[in-house]
Amino acid sequence: MNDYLLDIRDLKLAFKNYAGLVEVLHGISLNVRRGEKVALVGESGSGKSVTARIILGLLQELKSARISGSVHFEGQDLEALALRTRLALRGTKISMIFQDPTSSLNPVYTIGVQFNEVLRRGNPDISERDAEARAVALLKDVSIPEPERVLVSYPFQLSGGMNQRVMIAMALANEPSLLIADEPGTALDVTVQAQTLHLMRDLVERRGTSVLFISHNLGVVREFADRVYVIYKGRLVEHGETAELFHRPRHPYTRALMAAVPRITGGGIPTISETDAGFTDPMIDHGVAS
């Protein structure tokens, strides 16, 4: 046995369409320890988000999806679990934060109503009053001033940053052991994104929540993650502790990815080739000091 909270082995995903099978993931293996913040970095279409959705079991509902490999969570094989047990993990043990906070909250219900439902997932017997008190406390944790006012507001009445905080508070409301953050705050402007990421980091560190952080933003990943996996076209190409990987990127794709970040000091938008023979090199694992 190992102490991994999340352990993905040789995960493959293909979509069946009229032309045949389109392979999206070519067997990826990654893991997250308890209390660890792990990032999965790659460009759009590389297979980051589908990985998150497979962990939650959202993709399995699609008829066209062909999935193989294993996902273990807290030592249990998720595929072997009954659907009911698996559903019960969502929103309680595993929760997720999405890219665009404002459109991820339901437009016709107040924050309070939506919060209440989330809390009820964790504790179906919670009373209205307790739920409200708990929601207020959680919103205070994400530094929302006047949480009572936010609870009676609709998402469209709040700013994107506020909604992002609400979403973080909701995701952590039932004290999950794993938080999946799928490009959190990409839809927000950079200053707000930075503030909410700080908040999120403080909260998960205080609670010891593990995070699988999915992003294309290397700067954010460097600040946030303990460990990084780089994914390219459905294959992991490099893995290592954040400092090590950023200090000595060895895989040609990782180097290209890092070179692609525009510098604030100028120099224009870097030109990188779309494909390169080296991008499909075998995975480089820096190993993890334990």
């Binding site: 969502r90 929103g91 997720m96 991820s104 339901n106 016709v108 439902e117 997932r121 609709y154």
Partner: protein
């Protein structure tokens, strides 16, 4: 002033303008179509003097705007004139026939919402599966055949071949009609505590109301389905799924309510359109309603009754639309809170 009150005031004032326009239009049209109402009313044997006398009495020899002036004067006193067909004040006729039609249309509307929307929800939830396909075929049938065709088919199937329902009428002949209070038979029989009359009235209304509702049921199901399928692609549905809410709850709560907003307008229009479709359904089922009266007065070129009937139907149409607007404001916080929300 709260946004809802403001909305109400705005809609009401627009409705009044629309009603004035409708009254001018129908007033003119009724008078310019060929045929002398006085001659039709008095019959072929009346003398020219008698016809001329009646024309004089009805101000038919005056220019049309003067006639409209008389109409406005009488209307402001709550007088719509006398029907040449029934020889009674038009207001009395309408008060007698309107409730039966409204009752039919309201029950049909309940069927439309009660069957159409749940079918649409089920169709969207099981999209692409057998249940969805069956519901789509059925609703297409409902939409594609007009209500009077359904009226005849349903009557044949469920009143003639399979006598589950009465063929025609509003209540069984053997029962005494309960005292008229609201004019709605279902309500009056309950008010009178007359359960057999209530059951008989309910039994009689099912087939015509269903025939009238079928196209609306199909329309409501298709609209609800397509709007909900669109909503299912929204990020907030994925978020609800990521929280593990049961599929039924996601359908009924998270996906349905945002999808209802665009459907509701059309459903409201359908509801009002049933007033017009009721003409033929009432004819098939010998339903003593306003639509049947409307047909009779149009055929007889009964000017006062035509204008009165059209005005009442337009007013009902407008009222239904106002109710729909208020409902939309109720379920769409963006409208309800328009003042305080961000633009």
């Amino acid at each position: 002033m709260s946004p809802v009150v403001r909305l109400l005031v705005k809609r009401l004032s627009i409705s009044i303008i629309v009603l004035i326009g409708v009254s001018m239009l129908i007033f003119t049209i009724a008078r310019v179509i060929p045929g002398d109402p006085a001659r039709i009313a008095l019959g072929p044997n009346a003398t020219t003097e008698q016809v001329e006398q009646l024309r004089e009495k009805l101000h038919l020899n005056e220019p049309i705007w003067i006639q409209y002036g008389y109409f406005v004067r009488d209307f402001s006193r709550g007088d719509l004139g006398v029907s040449l067909y029934t020889n009674r004040p038009v207001t009395t006729d309408i008060a007698q026939f309107l409730p039966a039609t409204l009752e039919l249309v309201i029950v049909a509307g309940i069927f439309m919402i009660g069957f159409g929307i749940p079918l649409g929800i089920a169709s969207a939830r099981y999209r692409g599966k057998a249940a969805d396909n069956i519901i789509r075929v059925v609703s297409l049938l409902g939409v594609s055949a007009p209500s009077f065709v359904w009226a005849v088919i349903l009557m044949l199937l469920f009143a003639f071949f399979l006598p589950l329902f009465p063929i025609a009428g509003q209540i069984s002949d053997t029962l005494t009609v309960p005292p008229r209070i609201t004019g709605f038979l279902l309500v009056d029989s309950l008010l009178a505590g007359d359960i057999p009359a209530f059951l008989s009235a309910a039994h009689h209304i099912i087939l015509p109301a269903f025939a009238l509702a079928l196209s609306g049921i199909g329309q409501a199901a298709r609209l609800t389905r397509s709007n909900m399928v669109e909503t299912y692609d929204k990020p907030y549905i994925e978020m609800a799924q990521s929280y593990g809410f049961p599929a039924r709850r996601i359908a009924n709560r998270y996906a349905f309510r945002p999808s209802l907003i665009p459907s509701l307008t059309i459903i409201g229009l359908d509801f009002a359109a049933m007033l017009g479709n009721a003409f033929l359904v009432e004819a098939v089922y010998a339903w003593p309603g306003l639509s049947r009266y409307g047909v009779q007065v149009i055929l007889r070129k009964d000017l006062n009754a035509i204008v009165g009937t059209v005005l009442v139907i337009s007013a009902t149409f407008l009222i239904v639309n106002i109710i729909v607007d208020l409902l939309i404001a109720y379920i769409n916080p963006r409208i309800r809170l328009a003042e305080r929300g961000r633009p």
